[in-house]
Symmetry: C2
Subunit: 373 residues, 2 copies
C-alpha cells in the first residue's frame, strides 16, 4: 500500500457538496479530520495544525493512526474529492542546494569558468520567489510571455511567448511552528519548525530568465507558476529515509550537521507525457533542509507558519538523474526522445509533467501539471 499507516500525508479537499475539509490520505481514500479535532481543523485548512507545533503534530498523527486502525472516522474515496493547496503560504524561498545541478548550470552558462559560484560550498544559495505563484498539482500552467533576445527586429528584443519552457523537480519544505525574530533556528532544532515535505515543480521560462537575471536574479521567468503537491508528508513519516551528506569544506559551525543527518533518501522520478525522463536521488543533495532553514534565519529573519522553502532542482551525478530540461538537453542542444517517438528540447503545449518520489514503502503525493497555450 503506497499510502499506508506509515505514511499519512495531510491535505485539504473539496468534497462533492463543495465543503472544504482538512484530510489525511490513506490508501485510496481520505480521512476527514474535522471531527477528530474541530479546534484545529474547522477552517478546512492545515493552518492551525501547522502553527500548533511538533508536540501536537505527534499527538494528531498518533490519533489518526488509531482511528484508522480501529476502522473509525469518515473515509471518502479519493476520486470523490478535489485536493487544494492545504495551507496559506507565507514567504516562498527557492534554494540551489544540488551540487550536480549547480555544476551543470555553471558549465552551461559560464563555460570555462569555475562552474560553482565562489560562495556555493560555504552557504546555501537561494532567492525569494512569488508566494502567490504556488498552485496545487493539476492546475494548468499557461505558457508565459516575456522579454527575450531575438535576431529579428530593430532592438534585438521581443515580447513573446516563451520558447524555452522547462520544469524543475524539487522538494518543498513547509514551515509549521514559527521562529522568533532575532533567534536563528539551529540545525538541530530545524525539525521542530518544519512540518513536512511536498514535491514541487518550479516551472521556468529559460529565455525570459536568461535576459532578466543579471544582476538581481530570477524574476518573471519563474513567477508565473510554481506547482506543489497538495499532500504534505510529515517529517515523522520520513525518519527511516534520513541520510548524511558529505561536505568539503566543512561549513561554518552554525551550519554543521551536528547531531544527526537531515539528508533524505527519496528517489524522484520525472515523466513527460508518461515517458520517464529522469530519476534523481534526493540523497545526493549537498545541503540538508535543516541547513537551509538555519541559513535562512541566520541573519535574524524569522520564519512564519506557511512559509515554504524549496530545495532547488534535484539532480544526481548521472546524465539520467538531471532534474530539468536545461540539463537533460544541455540547454536545448541534445533533444530527448519520448516513448511516442517525438523529441523535446523544451516543453510543448499539451505536455504533462509529473514528478513522483518514494523511499521504500513511503510515497510522496505527486505533482503534475499540463502546459496550456
Amino acid at each position: 500500500m503506497s499510502f499506508g499507516l506509515d505514511n499519512l500525508p495531510y491535505g485539504s479537499v473539496i468534497d462533492q457538496q463543495g465543503r472544504r475539509r482538512a484530510a489525511v490520505r490513506y490508501d485510496t481514500s481520505v480521512l476527514d479530520l474535522t471531527d477528530l479535532a474541530p479546534e484545529l481543523f474547522e477552517t478546512g485548512t492545515l493552518d492551525r495544525l501547522l502553527a500548533a507545533g511538533p508536540d501536537v503534530w505527534s499527538q494528531v498523527r498518533a490519533r489518526v493512526t488509531e482511528v484508522l486502525q480501529q476502522g473509525e472516522g469518515e473515509l471518502i474515496p479519493l476520486d470523490a474529492v478535489r485536493p487544494v493547496l492545504p495551507f496559506t503560504p507565507g514567504d516562498y524561498v527557492d534554494f540551489y542546494a544540488s551540487e550536480h545541478h549547480a555544476t551543470n548550470a555553471g558549465r552551461i552558462f559560464r563555460p570555462g569558468a569555475d562552474p560553482l559560484p565562489p560562495s556555493w560550498r560555504h552557504q546555501p544559495i537561494g532567492y525569494y520567489g512569488r508566494s502567490a505563484a504556488l498552485q496545487a498539482s493539476g492546475t494548468p500552467v499557461h505558457r508565459p510571455s516575456g522579454h527575450v533576445r531575438t535576431d529579428s527586429g530593430d532592438s534585438g528584443v521581443a515580447f513573446r511567448p516563451t520558447e524555452r519552457l522547462d520544469f524543475e523537480a524539487e522538494l518543498a519544505f513547509v514551515v509549521g511552528a514559527p521562529s522568533e525574530a532575532g533567534r536563528p533556528v539551529s540545525v538541530a532544532a530545524a525539525s521542530r519548525h518544519v512540518f513536512g515535505v511536498a514535491l514541487l515543480n518550479d516551472w521556468s521560462a529559460r529565455d525570459i530568465q536568461a535576459f532578466e537575471t543579471v544582476p538581481l536574479g530570477p524574476f518573471l521567468g519563474k513567477s508565473f507558476a510554481t506547482s506543489i503537491s497538495p499532500w504534505i508528508t510529515p517529517l515523522a513519516a520520513l525518519e527511516g529515509a534520513r541520510t548524511a551528506s558529505s561536505q568539503h569544506p566543512l561549513p561554518l559551525p552554525h551550519l554543521h550537521e551536528a547531531v544527526f543527518p537531515h539528508g533524505l533518501a527519496l528517489d524522484l522520478e520525472v515523466s513527460v507525457n508518461g515517458t520517464v525522463v529522469s530519476r534523481p536521488g534526493f540523497a545526493a543533495m549537498y545541503w540538508s533542509y535543516a541547513q537551509l532553514l538555519a541559513h535562512l534565519t541566520s541573519n535574524g529573519a524569522a520564519v512564519r507558519t506557511g512559509d515554504v522553502f524549496a530545495s532547488g532542482t534535484v539532480s544526481g551525478p548521472r546524465a539520467d538523474q538531471r532534474g530539468c530540461l536545461l540539463e537533460l538537453t544541455w540547454n536545448g542542444t541534445e533533444p530527448l526522445t519520448l516513448d511516442d517517438g517525438s523529441s523535446r528540447t523544451w516543453l510543448q503545449d499539451g505536455d504533462e509533467v509529473t514528478i513522483t518520489a518514494s523511499h521504500e514503502s513511503i510515497t510522496l503525493g505527486e505533482v503534475t501539471g499540463r502546459i496550456m497555450p
Copy 2:
C-alpha cells in the same frame, strides 16, 4: 500645513486603550475611520479599503474631506497613538528603476564594463523579497550577521555582524484592487490597481549581499528588515506631481506610457542623525510605477491586495542626489562627514536614518529607523 486636506494619507494606529483603528492623518491629529464606514474599517486595518477598488477610494476620500471640513469625526492627537503597518502584506518586489543608481552600482561593481545590464533599458529589472521583513517606521533595525569574505581564517569566509550596513531610499507602491491571473495590467490601467505610495528603506548589508548574490541575486543581505512608512498617501493626492520620463530606446508597446505620464515629482531627503546626506528627486526615475506594474503582470502573474512593489534606490544625476551609502561613499572609499564632525562610510550602531519626501504642499509620511547592535 504639511498634512492638510489635499494630502490625507491612510494608516492604522494603536490608541491609548490598545485598540487598533484605521485612521487618516490630518495636521497633527488622526481621524478615526471606524464609524465613517464600519464595514470597511471594523478590522482596524486598511485591508478592505484597499480591496474595494478605485471607486470606493474616491468616495471615502470625498467623505473624509467633508467630515474634516465640517469639523465632524473623532480626532486624536498624533502623539497619543502608535502607527503600525496598516495592511497585510502579500508579495513584495523590489525594482531597480533608477538609471543613476543602476549606473553607479555598475561602475562600482563592474568597472570597465557597460554599467547598465543588457536588458536594463528594455524592461524594469527587479526581484522578489521577503514580505515579512516589512516593518513600520520607527521599529529598530538589528545589525544582521552573515557569511562574508575575510582575509583572516583558513577558509577566507567568516560568519559575523555586517560591517557594511547601508540604507536605500525608495518609494513603495501598495496594491489595492487585485488583478486577474492571465490578464496583465496595462500601463493605462495601473492607477486603478495601485492604492497609494509610502516611503521605504531597503536596509542592505553590502558585505553579506556581495558574497551571496551570484547567481540568484540579493537574499539574506536584504531579508533582515525593510522599513516602510505606516502612512500610505493615496495616488489621488499626487495628481499634481505627475511628470514624464524620457526613455531611449522606446520600450516595447505594452510598456509605453501611452495616455499620460506616471512619473512623480517628489523630492526626497535622506538624513543620518539629523545631517541631510542626500536629496534625490523621484522625477529622475527611468521607469514609472505604471510600467513596473505592467511588467510585473506581463507574464500572466496576478497581483493581490496588499502586494507591495518598490522603486529601488532613488538616485539623481548629482553626487548629492545618491540614495544609498554605497553610492554616496563610492563603496566605502569616500567617507561622508556628519554635522557632529564624525565620518561615515557605513552605518554605525545607534545611527538613525530618516527619509522624507514632498511635492509642494504634499508631504509623505517619513520612514525612520535606528541601528541596534
